[in-house]
Amino acid sequence: MTDVFSSSAALSPTDSGAPSAPAPTDHISDLLHKVAREDRAAFAELYQATAPKLFGTVLRILNQKSWAEDVVQDVYVKIWHKAEQFDAKKASPITWMVTIARNSAIDVLRKHPLAQRAPQEELDLIASAQPDAHSQLENEQALRQLNGCLEELEEGRREMVRLAYLNGWSRANLATYFDQPVNTIKTGLHRALKLLKGCLAS
């Protein structure tokens, strides 16, 4: 199984004679453009390269494998149909695909709130993101910058941001866990998000 984030897997060996082989991001973009033209082989390659990341994303939110597999199935069907809407100028292909996966998983979670897992289990999962050895340079820079900005938040708000983004927790879930009124959570999230926006823009 290849993975987008491994530095070598997505490089095409046939391009070795070219001055520079395409970066993995470019390769995934190429695959998406081919998928937009209904290229099934490219779709299979795209799946091989990205499914672990998207499945990990969905599983983290839904916490149940068979359920997450159903959602991932829907996600790739959506990717097949929406591939021509992908715009490399707006987002990286992985960001675009992860967005589809997160939106689908969160929509499903909101419809079935009982699937929420125990909070302590969640917290064990929110260790700060570290760039893995294979990350691309641009990802690393963006991650380092965002981590730096997250560090400026007070700890509770940092946890809130991660629990919402990674685990799909709603304001109400956060309110229960942090034992605060929903409005306080909302205000706290807004402060955190504004601070992040300002910090990232600086």
Binding site: A36, E38, Y47, Q73, E84, A91, I106, L146
Partner: protein
């Protein structure tokens, strides 16, 4: 706090995932027709994307990809189960079909709707399967919006037309045309649509062989009130091809 700030925070929380069910559904709806909100959401998606680096990749069950392929096959064999009545916003299956139609156009080398007036293109499913009796055609105006949907039941040769985005015209008429090789080089009129988007005679197809209908191209042109005075389209027509709806065909694995 300004409205713009409120909108930005709504976009941020939508991307963060913290909105409750109703607010989330509301934003999802608004994204369809609010470019400003859409742009803010896209900015937040990029801004927060590095958070996803913390997600450990997990390999899904090996059977998942086969399920995905089967689902895509099934959708392609079944573009629309039943033509939807017109709504303010196009339903999902119309959007999917619209995207697919555009791809068909690329794959058949069609440049633009206006330039390709009534070109006959054979659109049969790429694999052998029992011949379904129900067909649907989508007419799109400008490669963006489906304007009409035409459904044809080949066993009875009845057709019905539903507007998707098309509006009734003042002092003009929509006219439906058919073109197929056995009918010669020129389109043949199937009739003029009335204000309810109905053909005056519902039996317009009864003279045509079902095999011919499956290979025909249908066109809709805008004509002077009452129909073309020349017997031929006097404006560029928007065109559509019949797709089998395939409801009665069992899914076949490849």
């Amino acid at each position: 706090m300004t409205d713009r700030d409120d909108l930005d925070m709504l976009a941020a929380e939508f991307v963060l995932g913290s909105l409750d069910t109703e607010e989330r559904a509301s934003v999802t709806r608004r994204l369809q027709h609010e470019p400003e909100l859409n742009a803010l959401v896209e900015e937040w998606e990029v801004r927060l994307a590095p958070l996803a680096e913390a997600i450990e990749p997990v390999t899904p069950h090996p059977g998942v990809f086969a399920r995905i392929e089967r689902q895509i096959d099934a959708i392609q064999a079944t573009p629309v189960a039943e033509p939807e009545p017109a709504r303010a916003t196009a339903p999902d299956n119309v959007i999917a079909l619209q995207a697919r139609l555009r791809r068909w156009q690329w794959s058949t080398g069609i440049a633009s709707a206006a330039a390709m007036l009534l070109v006959a293109v054979l659109l049969l499913q790429p694999r052998p399967e029992p011949i379904p009796q129900s067909f649907v055609a989508v007419f799109q105006q400008n490669d963006q919006q489906p304007a009409f949907m035409l459904s044809v039941d080949l066993s009875t040769r009845k057709l019905s037309i539903r507007p998707v985005t098309a509006e009734p015209l003042q002092d003009k008429s929509y006219q439906l045309w058919i073109k197929a090789d056995p009918l010669g080089p020129n389109p043949r009129s199937l009739g003029v649509l009335n204000d309810n988007f109905e053909l005056d005679q519902a039996t317009a197809l009864s003279d045509f062989d079902p095999e011919l209908l499956k290979q025909a191209t249908f066109g809709i042109s805008i004509e002077p009130d009452g129909g073309s005075p020349t017997g031929q389209p006097t404006s560029p027509a928007i065109h559509g091809y019949l797709y089998p709806t395939g409801m009665d065909t069992p899914e076949q694995n490849r």
